[in-house]
Amino acid sequence: MTSDAVWVDIQETPLRLEAVAAFLRVEEAGGIDIFLGTTRRWTEADSNAPRRETIRLEYECYKPMALKEMRRIAEEAFRRWPLCRACLLHRTGAVPLREASVIVGAASPHRAEAFAACRYLIDALKSRAPIWKKERFADGSAEWVEGRFAAGDFSASDTQ
C-alpha cells in the first residue's frame, strides 16, 4: 500500500462524488463500492408518536484526531482486504437535506472485497471518528444525536 492509495479529508464545503470516483477508478480495480450518507428529512418515531421532520444536520469534529482515525481505519481495511484505493471524506458545519455528510469508497480487483471494505469503512468511521451531529428539526428544536460505540469499545471509566 502506498500512502497515495488512501485519501481522507474533512471539509466545510460540499463533498464531490466525481473527485471520489476519479480517485478510486484505477486500472487495477474491477469493483468499486461507494457509500454516501445523506441528510434525511423524516425520522419515524418508535411508537405511535408522529414522525419528526429534519431541516438540516450540523456536524462538529475534533479534526486532527478525526483525520488520524480515518487514516487508521483505511489502513486497517488495506490489511484486511486486497484493496487498490480507499477514501473517507466527511463534511462539517451545516448539511442541508439530500446532501452528503460523508462519502467513503473502496476499490478492489473484485466486487466482494470492495463491498466488504466499504461497509467496514463507514461502520468504523461512525463508531470511532470523533465527529458529532446535531439534528435541527422543523419545529425549531435541536438535539445532539446519541451515537453508539461499537461492541468491544470500552469507556474510560472502566479501569481494567
Binding site: Y62, K126, P130, S155, A156, D158
Partner: protein
C-alpha cells in the same frame, strides 16, 4: 523540572460536553512530576464541572489523538479529549 515545561493537561470538550461545560477546553493543573490515570482525570473533571458527571460513564478518553483505556497514564503536556458516543456520517 524546567520552568517552561507544561504543568497542565489540556482537556478538550466537544458537542454536548462542550455545551454543558460552557467552555471548549480547560487547562487542568498538575503538581510537579504528578501523573494520573485517565479514569482519575475524569473524576477531577466531574468535580470541576458537575454538569458533566451524568455523561461521563459513556465517555471515552483520547490522549494525544488516540483512544486510551481508563488505566492509561496522563502526563503534563498531554492533549486529552473527552469523546461522547460519536454520531458522524
Amino acid at each position: 523540572m524546567h520552568p517552561q515545561e507544561s504543568r497542565h493537561v489540556n482537556v478538550l470538550f466537544f458537542s454536548v460536553l462542550r455545551e454543558r461545560a460552557g467552555v471548549d477546553s480547560a487547562a487542568l493543573p498538575l503538581d510537579p512530576g504528578e501523573t494520573l490515570s485517565a479514569a482519575r482525570l475524569l473524576e477531577r473533571l466531574a468535580e470541576a464541572y458537575p454538569a458533566l458527571r451524568p455523561l461521563l460513564p459513556a465517555v471515552r478518553v483520547a490522549v494525544n489523538q488516540e483512544y486510551v483505556s481508563g488505566a492509561h497514564t496522563v502526563r503534563a503536556g498531554d492533549e486529552v479529549a473527552l469523546i461522547t458516543p460519536v454520531s458522524g456520517g
